[in-house]
C-alpha cells in the first residue's frame, strides 16, 4: 500500500540510497527496489559497502567479489547486477587507474598505507566506496564516461550504512574537506557531493512501526534535509494487517469483547471453548490492539514528513529470493514511472 505523493519529484532519480536502522530489513528492501527498477525492463546495479554479503544471501548466489556480477535476470529482459564494494580493493584500483602505480601499489600495501587510508583516515574510506558508485553511474556502454552512448546502468541501488551513520556517510565532502584540502581525493569528493546533492540521488528510509526505528528515521530525514540531500520514500517493512475491525479492536483493548458470544461462536465452529482458551484469545486480542495503536501513532509521525510511504507486509516464512520478488511487485507503482507501459514491464514475478 502506498500513501502520500505517488508521483514524487525523484521519479527520474538514478541513484537510490537505502538506509534504515539495524534489523529493519534494509538489505531486503534494497534488493526489492533493485528488482522493481529492473522490471521496466532495465539494467540495475545493486551495491553493498559493509562487507556483509547481504546481496548474495538475499538472492541465494555465491558470495560477491569485487567484480560486477549478474545476480538476477528477469523474464522481461531486465537484470540486477550485484557488487560488494570493498575499500581496499577500491583504493588499489583507483591508484592503478590514476597513477599507473605498478610496484608502488604493493609497497603501499606493505607499509600499511592502504590500511591507513581505508580504515583510519576519516572520510577517505567513504569517498572510495561512493567513488566506485560514482564511476559506475557515469559509465557508458562504449566504455567511456562521457558522450552520448547510453549508460551501462539505468539505475543504481546502494544498500547503505544504517540511519545512525547515513548523514555522515553521504556528506563525504565535509568529512574530507578539513583534511584533504587538495589532491585527487578532495576533488573526487567534490564531484561525488555534486552527484549526491543533485536530483539524481534520493535516499530511501526503511523502518518498522516501532518507536526506536521511527525516531531514528525522523532524525535521519531532518539530518539529510539539513545537509542538502533528498529523502525519497519511507518504506515501512514487516507490516501486519489487523485481524479485527476497528470496533472489535476498541473492544479488545478495553476488555469489552463479549465473552459468552465468543464462546458460543467457538462452539459453533467445533472448537472446545475452555476458559483458558477464551481468556487467552482475549488477552492476545488486547496485546494485538495495543500493538496496532502504537503502530498507528508511529505511522502518523511518518506521514507528517510529507514523504511517500510504502508499506510492505511481513513475510510469514522469512525472506528468500522468491519472497523478495513479491515485495518488489509492491514497490513497482511508486518506483517505476509509467508502470505498465511496454512489454514485460512493471512485473517482477514471471
Amino acid at each position: 500500500m502506498t500513501t502520500g505523493p505517488t508521483d514524487p519529484s525523484w521519479a527520474r532519480a538514478r541513484l537510490h540510497v537505502v538506509t534504515g536502522k539495524g534489523g529493519t530489513g534494509k538489505t531486503t528492501v534494497a534488493s526489492a527496489i533493485a528488482l522493481a527498477l529492473a522490471s521496466t525492463p532495465a539494467h540495475v546495479l545493486l551495491t553493498e559497502v559493509e562487507g556483509r554479503q547481504g546481496i548474495s544471501q538475499t538472492f541465494d548466489v555465491p558470495p560477491l567479489g569485487t567484480d560486477e556480477t549478474r545476480v538476477v535476470r528477469l523474464p522481461g529482459g531486465g537484470e540486477v547486477v550485484g557488487l560488494a564494494i570493498e575499500p581496499k580493493a577500491a583504493l588499489l584500483e583507483y591508484l592503478q587507474l590514476f597513477y599507473k602505480l605498478g610496484r608502488a601499489g604493493k609497497l603501499l600495501e606493505k607499509f600499511g598505507a592502504i590500511d591507513f587510508a581505508t580504515t583510519i583516515a576519516p572520510g577517505v574510506r567513504d569517498v572510495l566506496l561512493i567513488g566506485k558508485i560514482y564511476e559506475a553511474n557515469r559509465r557508458r556502454r562504449d566504455g567511456k564516461h562521457k558522450g552520448d552512448a547510453p549508460h551501462v546502468y539505468d539505475g543504481i541501488v546502494l544498500d547503505a550504512p544504517p540511519t545512525g551513520r547515513i548523514g555522515r556517510f553521504l556528506s563525504v565532502n565535509a568529512e574530507v574537506a578539513d583534511l584533504a584540502r587538495v589532491g585527487p581525493i578532495a576533488s573526487q569528493a567534490s564531484s561525488i557531493t555534486r552527484l549526491l546533492e543533485s536530483e539524481q540521488t534520493v535516499v530511501h528510509l526503511v523502518t518498522l512501526l516501532e518507536e526506536m526505528p521511527v525516531q531514528e528515521t525522523l532524525e535521519a530525514i531532518d539530518d539529510l534535509r539539513a545537509k542538502g540531500l533528498h529523502p525519497g520514500a519511507i518504506i515501512v517493512n514487516m507490516v501486519r494487517e489487523p485481524l479485527l475491525d476497528d470496533t472489535a479492536l476498541e473492544q479488545a483493548r478495553e476488555g469489552r469483547l463479549h465473552k459468552p458470544s465468543i464462546r458460543t461462536q467457538l462452539g459453533e465452529a467445533g472448537v472446545k471453548a475452555t476458559p483458558e482458551l477464551v481468556d487467552g484469545l482475549l488477552e492476545e486480542a488486547r496485546d494485538h490492539a495495543q500493538r496496532i495503536d502504537l503502530e498507528r501513532e508511529q505511522l502518523a509521525l511518518l506521514e507528517a514528513t510529507g514523504l511517500p510511504i510504502v508499506q510492505l507486509p511481513a513475510l510469514p516464512g522469512g525472506v528468500d529470493s522468491g519472497s523478495v520478488r513479491e515485495l518488489a511487485d509492491l514497490l513497482v507503482p511508486l518506483f517505476v514511472r509509467h508502470a505498465g507501459v511496454g512489454p514485460g514491464s512493471g512485473r517482477v514475478r514471471a
Binding site: G22, G23, E50, R52, L95, Y99, R103, A104, L107, L108, K110, F111, G112, A113, D115, F116, I120, G123, R125, P161, G164, R168, D178, L179, A180, R181, V182, G183, I185, E211, M212, Q215, R240, L243, L244, D245, A248, L257, S261, I262, Q265, L266, E268, A269, G270, V271, K272, L277, D279, G280, L281, L282, E283, E284, A285, D287, H288, R291, P316, G318
Partner: protein
C-alpha cells in the same frame, strides 16, 4: 569424553544466579544492532540493583525514552544515580551514556602535559579521529569501562557490578576488534614511517626504511594531499608520548574482559540474521577464551491461549466466516486467525533459536517474550528483568 545427551534442549540461562554472585563484576551485553541490547542491559542492571547489588549501567546510544526512564536527560559522560528504584535490599543504581569524543578528550588531557594536550585537541586530524573513526566508539566504550572499574568502591562510585551495553556496530565483533585495530594503527609501520623523520631529526630517519619510503610518501601526498599527511604527522608526534599508554590500557581492558569476574551475554532477536551474528560472536568468544554466560533470545512472540492448534484455528475461522453469522462470529474468526498467526510466528522463532542451540550445544539460553509495547519506564524494565530471569 563422556557421551553427552543427544537432546537439543539447551540449559536455561540463570540470570539471577549470575547477578547475585558477588564474584560477577562486569556483564557485557553484545549482539547486532536493533536486538534490544540497551534495554536488556538496563533491565538487568535494575534487577541486580533491586536484589541488592550496587550497579552502574553504561549505555552507548539509548532510545530517548529509555534514557529518560533511567533519569538520563543529558549526555554528560558521568554516571548519575537512578532514583525511584526499590533500594530495600541495599542496592543502588547509576546509569550513564557514553560520549565518545569527551572520553577521548579526557584520556588526552589525563595523559599529556597541559600545553601538549591543547595542541592535540586542536589538531584537525585528532578531531576527525575522535569523532568519526569507525572504531573510536568501541575503543572509548572499553576505555570508559576500564575507568568505571578502576574507580569503583568509593562514595561517588559505589558500584560493585558494571553492566555494559556495546555500540551499535556493523558487526558485533567490532567491539572486540576495535581496540586492537586502533592499537595496531598506533604501533603500525605506516605511523612509524610518518614519525620517523621527525624523531630522527630529518632525512636521516628515512634511511631505516630504504628507498620504498619515498615512493610511499610521495604517492600518499599526491593522493591524500600534503596537508592531510602533515596534520597526521603533527597529531602522531604530539600523541607519541601517549601511545604506550593507549596500547597498554587497551590491552588491560581486554584482559579485564577475559577474567572470571566478567560475563558476556549475547543478545539476539529470533531472526535469521541476528542469530547468525550471535553465532559468530559466540564462536569468537570461545576462541578468545572469553567468559560467555549465555544467549538471550529477545522478543519471542507471546502466545496466551492454549488448547487449539493453528491449523484447527484457521479451519474454524474459515467455517465461521462462511457461516455468515453475527458480528460475534467474525470477531471469533479474527481471534482464531490472530491466534494461529501468533503460534506460527512463535514456532518459527523457536525453530531458529533451536537451530542455534543445535550448533552450539551446552550454551545456556533464555527466551524473553515480546512486550505489547515499547519500554520506557522502570516498570517495563522490571518486567523484562523478570522475563530475563526465566520467570
Amino acid at each position: 569424553m563422556s557421551p553427552g545427551p543427544v537432546s537439543t534442549e539447551p540449559p536455561l540461562l540463570n540470570v539471577d544466579a549470575l547477578i547475585d554472585d558477588p564474584a560477577t563484576q562486569i556483564v557485557v551485553c553484545c549482539g547486532s544492532g536493533g536486538v534490544g541490547k540497551t534495554t536488556t542491559a538496563a533491565a538487568l542492571g535494575l534487577r541486580a540493583a533491586e536484589s541488592g547489588r550496587k550497579v552502574v549501567v553504561l549505555t552507548i546510544d539509548p532510545a530517548r525514552r529509555l534514557a529518560q526512564s533511567l533519569g538520563l536527560t543529558e549526555l554528560d559522560n558521568t554516571p548519575r544515580p537512578v532514583t525511584d528504584i526499590d533500594a530495600s535490599a541495599g542496592g543502588s543504581l547509576h546509569a550513564m551514556m557514553l560520549d565518545m569524543k569527551r572520553t577521548f578528550d579526557e584520556v588526552v588531557i589525563a595523559h599529556s602535559e597541559p600545553g601538549k594536550a591543547e595542541q592535540i585537541l586542536a589538531n584537525p586530524f585528532y578531531q576527525a579521529v575522535s569523532s568519526s573513526f569507525a572504531g573510536t566508539q568501541e575503543y572509548m566504550a572499553m576505555e570508559k569501562l576500564g575507568q568505571l572499574k578502576a574507580g569503583a568502591g568509593t562514595e561517588d562510585a559505589p558500584w560493585d557490578l558494571i553492566v555494559v551495553d556495546t555500540p551499535p556496530s556493523r558487526s558485533a565483533l567490532d567491539f572486540l576488534d576495535a581496540p586492537n585495530r586502533l592499537g595496531s594503527f598506533l604501533d603500525g609501520r605506516f605511523i612509524r614511517l610518518l614519525t620517523a623523520p621527525a624523531k630522527a631529526g630529518g632525512r636521516a630517519g628515512l634511511k631505516v626504511f630504504g628507498v620504498g619510503v619515498q615512493i610511499v610518501t610521495s604517492t600518499m601526498t599526491k593522493v591524500l594531499g600534503g596537508q592531510m599527511l602533515s596534520d597526521v604527522q603533527t597529531f602522531v608526534n604530539a600523541l607519541d608520548t601517549m601511545f604506550g599508554g593507549f596500547r597498554e590500557r587497551a590491552d588491560e581492558t581486554y584482559r579485564l574482559l577475559s577474567e572470571d569476574g566478567t560475563a558476556f551475554l549475547v543478545v539476539a532477536a529470533p531472526e535469521r540474521d541476528a542469530l547468525r551474528e550471535a553465532s559468530f560472536f559466540v564462536d569468537r568468544l570461545e576462541a578468545d577464551g572469553m567468559p560467555l554466560a549465555g544467549l538471550v533470545v529477545n522478543r519471542i512472540g507471546r502466545v496466551s491461549a492454549t488448547g487449539v492448534t493453528p491449523s484447527r484455528a484457521l479451519a474454524a475461522a474459515e467455517s465461521l466466516e462462511e457461516s455468515g453469522g453475527p458480528k460475534s462470529a467474525s470477531n471469533a474468526a479474527g481471534l482464531l486467525r490472530l491466534h494461529a498467526s501468533l503460534v506460527r510466528t512463535a514456532e518459527r522463532q523457536r525453530e531458529l533459536a533451536d537451530r542455534f542451540s543445535r550448533s552450539h550445544p551446552g550454551i545456556p539460553v533464555v527466551q524473553v517474550p515480546a512486550l505489547g509495547r515499547d519500554v520506557h519506564d522502570l516498570d517495563g524494565l522490571r518486567e523484562i528483568g523478570h522475563a530475563l530471569a526465566g520467570s
